[in-house]
Amino acid sequence: MSNYASPEEYGLADLLCCAASRQVRDNEIVFAGTGLPMVAIMLAQKTHAPNLKLIFEAGTLDGRPPELPTSVGDARCETGASRSTGLFDTFSIAQRGYVDLGYLGGAEIDQYGNVNTTCIGNYLEPDLRLTGSGGNPDINSFARRTVFIMVHEKRRFVEHVSYITSPGWRVRKWPGGEWVHRRELYGAAFRGGPSAVISTAGVFGFDQEDGHMYLETYHPGKTVDEIRDLCQFDLDVSRVKGETEPPTKEELYFIHDVLDPDEIFIPKVKKA
């Protein structure tokens, strides 16, 4: 991980992609969502985690697509996979506990890592209906760790999300709705939870005991105060380690020359 690129050689999407990629450890089983996470995982596969096993929700197990799929249901997912099957298998495998890591996104997040992808406003009369949950809560319930990749805006890092689509570290126990620690609710089914948020401003971790989010690193060019101001909740900045590690030249080569040369998910930095 030496040979870092200089600031003018990479964009924000590159930085996010590399930060996401570094969350994977070798030999892990990873559930990949559509978009930037796909590139991030395939980047890890090309660099530090050659033996990771990639699951695409739509039905491919241990996939190694030579051309970037545009979504998890894409025909490209099948090429080179160990098995091409369907959701019954991918979700059974996930519920069975095979999955180490999942990558997810969201429109809103709270300080406990609860994420909303369902609606803005009152659920029963929403201001804006979004796509819905998809597999977000499932992957997040079943995997040992999940990484959220998000646009960092103050309206997205909120005190309370409009709707908890995907469970964080403190969640609601139904039918009553009391707030409890995830470990308490999940009981024997507890495997972990959100382990990182990679936003357009910084990288965040979670205190697994009280469940709150903290700033781990800030992206080059951002400041801690700026990031704190971009959160509606009181962000813990006591554990900041420094700046987010920039992409290496090798990573940029894989992203732009091998994995996503057509800029489907990651735009190239326009040279002056």
Binding site: T70, Q95, T118, L130, P137, R172
Partner: protein, 317 residues
């Protein structure tokens, strides 16, 4: 044997009655039976209850055209060609449609339960989310939970009496009247061979009371039966078959053609208003049949989507 199950696209759409519950093959923007969906719109179906493992363009076509009263699923959009379902979103805001949210795995397990002949499934997903919030039981609030096709409860919260494995959530089987599938090959007696990802096709085919298969080609049963372990759905699970090349367009078909991204992007842009959708439907759905639609799309566009048969997709370079 006179067991030919062949019907036309029009007949396939006629099997779906106003008020039917309906589901589809495929995943988001892949292998959706769009040719039949267009025909459902032409036949002006009303009051449909869509129960989908996940939604996609087919949802947005039917919702935009006013065919759908209830949508039970977890997701709708056009992947990178349109980031959400704008017709659905607009109609939810205006309370013109009932939306019941389950998670993706829950929808899949609901269909699995139905396909297994079980009234419900046992899961541990989405614990602690608002998906399980009893206040958000939309069909319950609307008085639709009759215990016949729609379960009396949205969820039952329970525990594991065997291993103390943590809280269990019981979810009702997805009972549907009709499943419409869009696949590569079907034999004249109904045997289906799907290539590539299977998505949730085997489950929805078995869960539905009537299963209609639209295939790129109808092939001899004897050909499929030479390799019984490569087949995906058995003959007697399929009631009707339709041969319809490019029947999934604008969604993609593994080994045959890619997603028509430009078409979807254009459709999504139009669906931001009802007027936009109506204009789009007027141009691309009403007054056309499937061949007319293909003529309108044109050879150049369709050849450009054609999958390379060695790769099973259209390579970008």
């Amino acid at each position: 044997m006179s067991t030919d199950k062949r019907i036309t696209l029009q007949q396939a759409a006629e099997i779906v009655k106003n008020g039917s519950s309906l589901t589809f093959s495929g995943f988001t923007i892949w292998r959706r039976p769009v040719a039949v969906v267009y025909e459902l719109i032409r036949q002006q179906k009303r009051g449909l209850h869509l129960i989908e493992v996940n939604g996609g363009p087919q949802t947005e076509f039917l919702v935009g055209a006013g065919c759908v009263d209830i949508w039970e699923s977890c997701w709708v959009g056009h992947e990178l060609y349109g980031k959400y379902g704008a017709n659905l979103s607009r109609k939810v805001g205006k309370k013109e449609i009932l939306v019941e949210d389950y998670s993706h795995a829950e929808m899949l397990f609901r269909f699995t339960a139905a396909a297994m002949g079980a009234p419900y499934a046992v899961t541990q997903t989405s614990l602690g989310t608002d998906i399980h919030n009893p206040e958000y039981d939309v069909l319950g609030r609307a008085g639709k939970r009759d215990g016949k096709r729609i379960g009396k409860q949205k969820y039952v919260y329970t525990d594991d009496p065997f291993f103390d494995a943590g809280p269990q959530v019981l979810i009702p089987a997805a009972k549907v009247d009709v499943a419409i599938l869009c696949v590569q090959q079907v034999g004249e007696e109904g045997t289906v061979r799907i290539s590539g990802q299977l998505y949730s096709d085997t489950e929805v085919a078995r869960a539905a009371d009537i299963t209609i298969v639209v295939a790129e080609e109808i092939v001899p049963e004897s050909y499929l039966r030479r390799d019984a372990d490569h087949n995906t759905i058995s003959s007697f699970e399929v009631d009707y078959i339709v041969e319809c090349p490019f029947g999934a367009h604008p969604t993609g078909m593994f080994g045959k053609y890619d997603v028509d991204g430009a078409f979807l992007k254009d459709f999504f842009t139009n669906t931001r208003t009802q007027e936009g959708f109506d204009a789009f439907a007027k141009e691309w759905i009403f007054g056309l049949d499937h061949i007319g639609y293909l003529e309108k799309l044109g050879w150049s566009r369709m050849l450009n989507l054609r999958a390379n048969t060695a790769l099973n997709y259209k390579p970008r370079r």
